[in-house]
Symmetry: C2
Subunit: 338 residues, 2 copies
DNA sequence: TCACACTTTGATAACGCTCACATTCTGAAT
DNA sequence: ATTCAGAATGTGAGCGTTATCAAAGTGTGA
């Protein structure tokens, strides 16, 4: 079943059928109706491959994320899929497992051409690696790795959110806030560094000293990782009266480790997460968390991508690249804080 | 940059380049090396759209699931993506939000052609709806909805797993086991009915009566749904000494509701989940669960799909459709059971 | 009646690849 | 030398769509 078959049946040319299907102007209402009826009649469906080959459009948007088993990206994917579906686009998922090779592979030219647009969360690659890649495909980067200036980039309000969370803990009496995923050096502009910066700012503002032993670096921000980090901290004998975990997933591991240690939350130790995922509401005890504006962020991503897809490519003069930092982080206080 | 450009540069025809790229026989080692060198030299990448149009292959496998924000499908997707990647295939995700319209849309002919193969988890559609759809694309169904006999179908050991779980609860002294997601009628062959059947079998074997009020039907198997179900049960005043939730996600909601009610787990009430997701290990208390053989299931899915993709289509005489029921369900006992 | 603008429709040629088949080459057997 | 099998390589067509531009149809004013 090809377009030409529909055309023959409707007594028009393939071009007219194409025009009807793509909503182009220059088709009389009468013809349009006849063609539409024939399409419905024959149950015709366009061949995406042919359209892609000829027109260079695929109708698919790639989302490249480090993992999907954690709650954060799965929830982001769900939101994005919904928003893109409204615009007639598909979401195709690729996982990199946070490996630089897989990140590079995912943005390789051949792969890129599979998509009309790309939403990419980098964890390992940085600007230098990206410079080699010439993006004709519109891309929106999310996350905190530095990105070449030609690209759209959306970041959470990491500093602000972390500052807010830390202020709250300090004001509620905590004086020794362990930070799971923090960084000792403030050199890089990645998520851990930025959130640590907010943590430090809040301490500075309220005049509280930070014991560097409270800053626990971790390899990943998963639940097992959070569990291990807190177990290690506990065993190392450093006293603490609050824990700020840089993701909800890690906070879940922290809660588990605290329960194992027989510590009461929030009486003995307060706990704060980051992301405000749907699961926080159901943990025991319910996790207080930083809501970074997840819904607004997904909308903004799709909006930026749409704009750039309409324009054609990245860094064009017509559509200057946007760097958006979400600024609406707020706290959602539940049972793990006083 | 086209294949013909590589061919010209290497002093061969496009067909030879194609043969090299696709690993076909009939190319001398010398020529192959020269072509490969030229490809690397020019940085050539095949155009998937053209290949797809001409050869009818896409290199992509679709996974159609009701949701991704819950842990179960996200973890399944992660496993599948890994196994498929090993075979040079992509995983493309589509969510149906458990709506029949979206399920039908996902298996519509036009969509199907985007994929070399499809892994489909049905929740709402049944055999009658599927009969209308002529599948040329290889499909493997997962989950418990009945499926036309022409298709491959993989099911968990629902009855066995539920029986195992219920036996354990009964043997550890429970006499009033609430079942979240159970079915009162045993008519349909879907997941809730099958697991309820295992629950009934275990009771029959050990000669324990079931109070029908303990069988709580739910709309979905999410955490909020589990929470609501248990809250409702609690408020309705029906006594119970154990809860068997048909998914870990629902069990998580149950644990939260029990904590709200001030009930101790497992002293007052034992809790058992199903799926043995990665999060069970970190809940407070750690959730005992039925491990249905998730890893083996993902492998089996890919294996079946691969076989059928090699063969061409569904229900062919050469490759008779397989209905596989995984039989290796086992219990993983943690802290929510005695 | 004719010229002219404007709207609607159609013919043709790609897009880049691979299938089917044709051709050339190699070396051993006759 | 000649034949021939088998391996290596090339030729040409066409997958289904859409961009371009040409052609036909429609109506208006001189």
């Amino acid at each position: 079943m090809r377009m030409i078959d529909v055309a023959r049946e409707a007594g028009v040319s393939a071009m007219t059928v194409s025009n009807v299907i793509n909503g182009r102007t220059g088709v009389s209402a009468e013809t349009r109706l006849r063609v539409l009826a024939t399409i419905a009649d024959l149950g015709y469906q366009v061949n995406h491959a042919a359209r892609h080959l000829r027109a260079g459009r695929t109708g698919a948007v790639g989302l490249i994320v480090p993992d999907l088993d954690g709650p954060y990206y799965a929830q982001l994917a769900t939101r994005l899929a919904r928003d893109l579906h409204e615009r007639g686009l598909h979401l195709v998922l690729e996982q990199t497992n946070a490996s630089p090779e897989r990140e590079l592979e995912a943005i390789s030219f051949g792969r890129l051409r599979m998509y009309d647009g790309l939403i990419m969360s980098l964890l390992r690659l940085d600007a230098a690696d990206l410079d080699q890649v010439s993006f004709e495909t519109p891309v929106v980067f999310i996350g905190e790795r530095p990105v070449p200036p030609a690209f759209d980039h959306i970041m959470m309000d990491n500093v602000g959110g972390a500052r807010l969370a830390t202020r709250h803990l300090l004001k509620s009496g905590a004086r020794r806030i362990a930070v799971i995923g923090g960084r000792h050096d403030d050199g890089t502009e990645d998520m851990p560094s930025l959130r640590t910066r907010g943590y430090r700012q809040a301490h500075a503002e309220l005049g509280v000293e930070i014991d560097p032993r409270l800053v626990v670096e971790v390899e990943s921000f998963t639940t097992p990782s959070g569990f291990r980090a807190l177990t290690w901290l506990q065993e190392s004998g450093v006293p603490f009266d609050a824990v700020f975990a840089f993701t909800d997933a890690a906070a879940m591991g922290v809660l588990r480790a605290l329960a194992d240690a027989g510590l009461q939350v929030p009486q003995d130790v307060q706990v704060m997460g980051f992301d405000n995922g749907t699961e926080t509401e159901f943990l025991v005890p319910r996790l207080s968390s930083v809501e970074p504006g997840n819904g607004a962020m997904a909308e903004r991503i799709v909006e930026l991508l749409d704009r750039r897809m309409a324009a054609g490519g990245n860094g064009g003069a017509e559509v200057p690249p946007q760097v958006t930092t979400m600024v609406n982080a707020r706290l959602v206080l539940r049972e793990t804080t006083r």
